[in-house]
Amino acid sequence: MPTVPAYSSGAAVRLAEMADVTGSDSALRRFLHGLPGVDAVGIEARAATLGTRSIKTTAKAYAIDLAISMIDLTTLEGADTPGKVRALCAKGISPDPTDATTPKVAAICVYPDMVPVAKAALGASGIKVASVATAFPSGRAGMPVKLADTAEAVAAGADEIDMVIDRGAFLSGRYLEVFEEIKAVKAACHREPGPDGTGGPAHLKVIFETGELSTYDNVRRASWLAMLAGADFIKTSTGKVAVNATPPVTLLMLEAVRDFHATTGVQVGVKPAGGIRTTKDAIKYLVMVNETLGDRWLSADWFRFGASSLLNDLLMQRHKLSTGRYSGPDYVTVD
């Protein structure tokens, strides 16, 4: 079965073939509850073992640059201003002004109202604009509000939409409601390409807030549910609750993506977000991607880090590798 990207029209055809499991609430429930269970201790042990991989010298240099190129550099504060967003965009374009070989980040992630600012600031840099939507971070709003939220960001030119699912609906077992919600948001991501072929539909990342889903079984179910509904990426967390991305949760989502791909041929991306602050952490995630999904997922098209402070640590480690000296916070920019 040839691989098709989740955002392609081919993916919609493949998903339509799975319609028997999403056709009714009871069918979807049976399917999700029929997925293999997850043994918590086992998956945590596997993630911990992968975390002991020792990535040195050339491998480390490769991993650091790869990680930088996968960052969704994020600011999601009530205090965000156009100035703050512009500064972040500048940092994303040129993370290390002293070294032009430093890769750009993948995207700048902001609230919907900041999309126009980011879009303008990034210009033709090739860096995407990602916008959170659907009453981020709680998701507690009616559908019209969530869709309007999405539509605003799409209309403003967001390349990517990071939606949150309704965890309340999920935890109370209303899976079809969550499924329909994702489908509706996906539809709201639609945008006709411009005459130059750019600016087609925004890619949809679906945030589960895994810290609130609480169990690994729920994370696996949510992953399948979102992928069946057309998610282009599945994302762990908003960064706004106590428990954000963890290696085992991310590993589980990588496994779900792997299994979904094996079943449907549709390739879906993964984005851990929140709490990933160090190079060491980032490399652990890349090792998990490498050993679970392989090369095909090792690019910003299919794996992202939702992070802010991670970038500076990666840059300091990059200095260390190129100069042999340890760097310090005064030698990286604070934006």
Partner: protein
């Protein structure tokens, strides 16, 4: 840097050899001193990953065995008379020194044994130290262990250990023996003598009274000499079932207490409702941990037919990510086979598997040109009648059989003269308990595999041996029960008589 499509190749990440200083030659450790063998015989120990000679060690002969046993018997008088609280402190000291020197010993173990540094560092050494900690605490609490109000040590213990976990096996043998007031003469395996010799140095650092621990290096003849020495009161052996039987015959009628931890052919049973990804990890850990040089390895995968294809596909995909190579590389998952002899045995049995019609599969992986190596291998289409389903291969070779019903799984799992361990994978609690109850095996891992802990008794049913190591149960092998002789009284009396 241009982010062209590259692959994420891990650069070599070798652990430094500089932390360990191996002497060109080692003698026997008898009565607190290193001495040459009486007849001057020596043998070489090599690194199985490179065939490089690491050192030359003494080959103990009958005279040396006699001297070591006498030293142990002499030391027994005072050691067994020490208050338990004092013995405990020696064991605590040893545990601490093992922790302090763990990096050095881990590197040494990987060099001499061929196992990945990740395992010697994260498993062998922590487990060995933990074992001493655990039994240290028992030394002054034996009267509460359920073996009577005044449990007595047995005397001088002759202990023979295998090459798969050299230092950890040493800890499993020496810690309970010393805690209970026995003294020991231990013979490490011929191919992995070095960590035991380094342990002798730890005994020196701990100030352990001389003669309490004696280390004799040598081959099988040294072991045979040791277990049949009339001055040995207790024999403990871990190794093959064949040798275990020979030892049982050798001690017949002597009154020596015997504990045996022998071979296995464990069934790892995967039911159709298993947590598949963790089951696959458990299968991999079960058979490829320590190159499969594990007596309790899950060498027979019993998978329910309805999920067999899915599980096997996942297993093969996972096996393709196993990293085989330099044991000292921190990213190595599978190291070297311990010896040319063992490699020969693995090859012979896998060839028999092919000849008998089973389907063989291994992932693509490059093997080093020197040393002893074997690709992780899985055989499908195996039946109970195949040799690879019955004989212990003791290597990275998995035999896959299928079953249709839980009763069939249990019947096949138990259909072996061995009974050391077994695995169960299912999300259904009552099925776990039913299956665990029916399995005739000393250790049952449900939704996990190859887990060990000093507080957890380990040992087999049937031809996998008798006696338990670990936990309160592990004390029994080193205590005289009411009906059994202890040297203690007679030694004390003889002391008075003098």
């Amino acid at each position: 840097m241009a982010m062209d499509k590259q692959t994420f190749e891990y650069a070599p990440a070798p652990e430094s050899r500089a932390v360990v200083d191996i002497a060109p030659a080692y003698g026997l450790y008898i009565d607190g001193e290193f001495t040459d063998a009486a007849d001057g015989k020596v043998f070489k120990t090599i690194s199985p990953a490179s065939e490089e000679v690491l050192s030359e060690v003494a080959q103990a002969g009958p005279e040396d065995v006699d001297r070591a046993v006498k030293a142990a018997r002499k030391a027994f008088e005072k050691w067994s008379a020490l208050p338990g609280s004092e013995r405990a402190k020696y064991l605590f000291r040893i545990a601490r020194i093992l922790q302090e020197r763990s990096r050095e010993l881990a590197v040494l173990e990987s060099l001499d044994n061929g196992k990945p540094i990740r395992e010697s560092r994260d498993f062998d050494l922590p487990t060995a130290a933990a074992h001493f900690f655990y039994y240290a605490g028992w030394a002054d609490k034996l009267q509460y262990a359920g073996f009577g109000p005044a449990p007595r040590p047995i005397g001088a213990a002759g202990q023979v250990i295998p090459w798969n976990f050299p230092l950890m096996m040493l800890a499993w043998k020496i810690a309970p023996a010393l805690a209970t007031g026995n003294t020991v003469v231990l013979k490490p395996a011929e191919t992995t003598p070095l960590s035991a010799l380094f342990f002798a140095d730890i005994c020196r650092q701990a100030g352990l009274p001389k003669g309490v621990v004696n280390i004799l290096t040598g081959d099988g003849s040294t072991g045979a000499e040791l277990v049949s020495h009339p001055g040995v009161d207790k024999v403990a052996f871990t190794g093959s079932t064949e040798v275990g039987k020979a030892i049982a015959r050798a001690v017949a009628g002597t009154g020596k207490k015997l504990s045996l931890e022998l071979g296995g052919k464990a069934a790892n049973i995967v039911f159709d409702d298993a947590p598949v990804d963790q089951a696959v990890e458990g299968i991999v850990n079960g058979i490829f941990f320590n190159q499969g040089h594990v007596c309790c390895a899950g060498s027979r995968l019993l998978v329910q037919e309805s999920v067999a294809d899915e599980v096997l596909d996942s297993l093969k995909r996972r096996m393709s990510t196993l990293r085989v190579g330099d044991p000292l590389d921190k990213n190595t998952d599978i190291g070297a086979i311990n010896s040319a002899e063992q490699l020969g045995r693995i090859r012979a049995l896998t060839e028999a598997g092919e000849a008998e019609g089973a389907d063989r599969w291994s992932p693509e992986c490059e093997l080093p040109s020197n040393g002893f190596w074997f690709r992780p291998t899985v055989f499908t289409g195996v039946t109970q009648a195949h040799r690879i389903a019955r004989e212990e291969i003791f290597g990275p070779v998995l035999s896959v059989l299928t079953f249709r019903t839980p009763a069939e799984a249990v019947e096949k799992a138990n259909n072996t003269p061995y009974g050391l361990s077994a695995g169960i994978w299912t999300e259904k609690g009552s099925r776990i308990l039913w299956t665990a109850d029916k399995l005739r095996a000393g250790v049952v891992w449900a939704n996990t595999f190859n887990k060990f802990d000093p507080s957890s008794p380990f040992g087999g049913y049937k031809e996998s041996g008798y006696g338990r190591e670990g936990g309160r149960h592990g004390l029994e092998a080193y205590l005289a029960t009411a009906a059994e002789p202890s040297n203690e009284r007679s030694e004390r009396e003889s002391e008075r008589d003098r």
